[in-house]
Amino acid sequence: MSTNGKVKVATMWLSGCSGCHMSLLDIDERILELVKHVDILFSPIVDIKVKDMPYVDVGIVEGCVNNTDQEHELKMLRERCKVLIALGDCAVTGNVPSLRNQFALKECLSRAYEQTESTKIACIPNDPIVPKLLPKAHPLQEIVKVDLHIPGCPPDADCIWFALTELLAGRIPQFNEKNMRYD
């Protein structure tokens, strides 16, 4: 808890499509209620100018771990949050980004940057400025300990809302058949 009594939250976006963050925004006007109880200190949806990742109560992560930067960020968040949530199928299982695991990384890069029909000036990006891709894409739990998994591609906004309100009430959310239905 921070000094103002609000729960401190960080959200992070690794290798995924941002659809889980979109689903989080789909709580719509309930966001007004949420910000009464929560300070979002680190997130792609707010403008943060802190020089360092803050220590928070809850870390919410979308996406899987695809490159060395993401691996580093995830480990740092794990050290600095009390409860780590894997939000959505990419974080939980690797999902679509991990489809590349059936191919060698070299083949994936070669197809994208050398062989695609529209590519006329080709090379494989390898400047140190771009992070190194890991040989395989990993779900979060292969890299760090995860406290709560919320599956779905993406999880429904109501399901995210349920999880957040349960956590705010000091309970670990217990999902049942009803609140895990997304259609």
């Binding site: 941002s18 360092d52 930067d69 580093h72 083949e107 000036i121 140190p128």
Partner: protein, 473 residues
């Protein structure tokens, strides 16, 4: 001259999603500026071997902000493979869903991302300069914005079953008809949506009037433009041939059939970014730089087919026929938002919108399919090659934000020339760089990692490759 040894320490790495380097020559003048995209997922490879009917489920996972656009480009590529024309109602329902997407995406871009800068000021407290700060400062407006985005999302949900990643378009049509009740519920929400769109337009026009010098100069440079259009040259977002114009608005190529795109668009790769650099083939690299998206679409079209948006287009064009300042992207986006609302109304009022004639057979007939749509951020191209059983053998994708890659780099250079003095990065640079990139509303999951408010590190690199200054946030 290239940056050989840029060291990014662990602290900056946590914020390394959008990386920018400014390169200076021996005399300290800006030589180059680079916007580095740091994410690669490999769709062009890992889709190989899937059945083509799976593609509309897999490829939208490229982007959760514009999944509907990927879904439609994919479904259209699959339609081409089936060699069949989809029923009229199916086409209308797909466009209806697409307009829902434009409404939610453009509302998000304006209210959640751009409005905080305009209403709270570029230099206001960063911790409050976001949609949540907007809620505190102007709650009524913020709520209207949130509800307008919700309206767009609800259109998608009503038509397609769910808000993010629906599976509604399929090769040959769509898999769900619209009920009269659903139609009527959407029609009920229209007046409030129109009202909010008008408030947003008035706000933006007011900002332009008050900040004339800045908006006219902001990321202002010549480029070519590309997008799809209707047969009579009107604005089109779902289905049309390609048009390419130069900086003066003169047509370079017109009514190019989707299947011929490879004759007109080529791509280059640079070692320092995972995002490729498309260019107009005839003009070469990098001279063939072009822009796509709202600014480009309003520059290339002759008119807009709906009355309210067309009236706004005339105001937008009052000063000049072609707008080159990147700030005009925001205004163009709101005109398209209005067009989207008018199209929703028109489509809902069409008698056949609730027809159940929505699907034709989807056996693979043609080994190659190309599907092109205008996503909120610009032209989106899906191209699949399949074998006789419909198994995907090759995939090529050119995503919206990719088309703007050269232009975003040019925009950053433009800012850098003003803000780099005596080998130092001037304060205030980060916000301007971020703002110039945000004009393109980059759908960064197609490419990088931020919903516009990007953690950022800018490094100034000397002629010998060493980092002489660094700003980060």
């Amino acid at each position: 001259m290239t940056s050989k040894t840029i060291l990014i320490n662990p602290v900056t790495r946590i914020e390394g999603h959008a990386k920018i380097t400014i390169h200076i020559d021996a005399r300290g003048n800006v030589d180059d500026a680079r916007f580095h995209v740091v994410e690669f997922r490999g769709f062009e490879k890992f889709c190989e071997g899937r059945h083509y009917t799976e593609m509309p489920n897999i490829t939208p996972r490229t982007c959760g902000i514009c999944p509907v656009s990927h879904l439609l480009a994919s479904a259209k590529a699959c339609d081409a493979i089936t060699g069949r024309t989809i029923p009229r109602t199916a086409k209308m329902l797909r466009e209806l869903m697409h307009m829902g997407q434009f409404i939610q995406s453009h509302a998000l871009s304006f209210f959640h991302l751009s409005a905080p800068d305009m209403l709270l000021g570029f230099d206001s407290d960063p911790l409050k300069r976001n949609v949540i700060g907007l809620v505190a400062a102007a709650p009524e407006l913020a709520v209207k914005g949130v509800l307008l985005r919700k309206f767009g999302q609800e259109v998608i949900k009503a038509v397609a079953g769910r808000k993010v990643h629906p599976d509604f378009p399929v090769p040959g049509g769509v898999n769900k008809a619209l009920t009269a009740e659903q139609r009527d519920a959407m029609l009920k929400g229209m007046p409030a949506a129109f009202e909010t769109a008008k408030i947003a337009l008035d706000l933006l026009k007011g900002y332009h009037a008050k900040n004339l010098a800045e908006v006219e100069d902001f990321g202002n440079f010549d480029s070519n433009y590309m997008g799809i259009i209707q047969p009579d040259g009107a604005l089109e977002l779902y289905d049309g041939n390609l048009r390419f114009c130069n900086a003066k608005g003169e047509i370079i190529h017109d009514q190019v059939p989707n299947a011929k795109y490879l004759d007109y668009v080529a791509e280059a790769v640079e070692p320092w970014s995972y995002m490729k650099f498309p260019f107009i083939a005839k003009l070469g690299y990098p001279h063939g730089m072009y822009r796509v998206g709202p600014l480009a679409r309003l520059n290339i079209c002759s008119h807009i087919s709906t009355p309210l948006a067309n009236a706004e287009l005339k105001v937008w064009r009052e000063k000049r026929r072609v707008q080159t300042s990147s700030f005009y992207f925001h205004w163009a986006r709101l005109i398209e938002l209005l067009y989207g609302l008018e199209r929703v109304q028109q489509l809902l009022e069409d008698k056949e919108i609730t027809s159940t004639d929505i699907l034709v057979s989807n056996q693979p007939q043609d080994p190659v399919g190309v599907g092109i749509v205008e996503a909120p951020r610009g032209t989106l191209i899906h191209n699949y090659w399949v074998n006789k059983d419909g198994k995907v053998e090759k995939v090529n994708l050119i995503v919206s934000t990719g088309h703007n890659n050269l232009a975003m780099n040019k925009g950053v250079q433009h800012v850098a020339r003003k803000y780099v003095k005596a080998k130092k990065l001037k304060e205030g640079m980060l916000n301007r760089v971020e703002a110039v990139i945000r004009c393109y509303d980059p759908c960064l999951s197609c490419a990088t990692h931020a919903i516009g408010k990007m953690p950022m590190v800018v490094e100034l690199v000397d002629a010998d490759g060493s980092v002489v200054d660094c700003l980060r946030k």
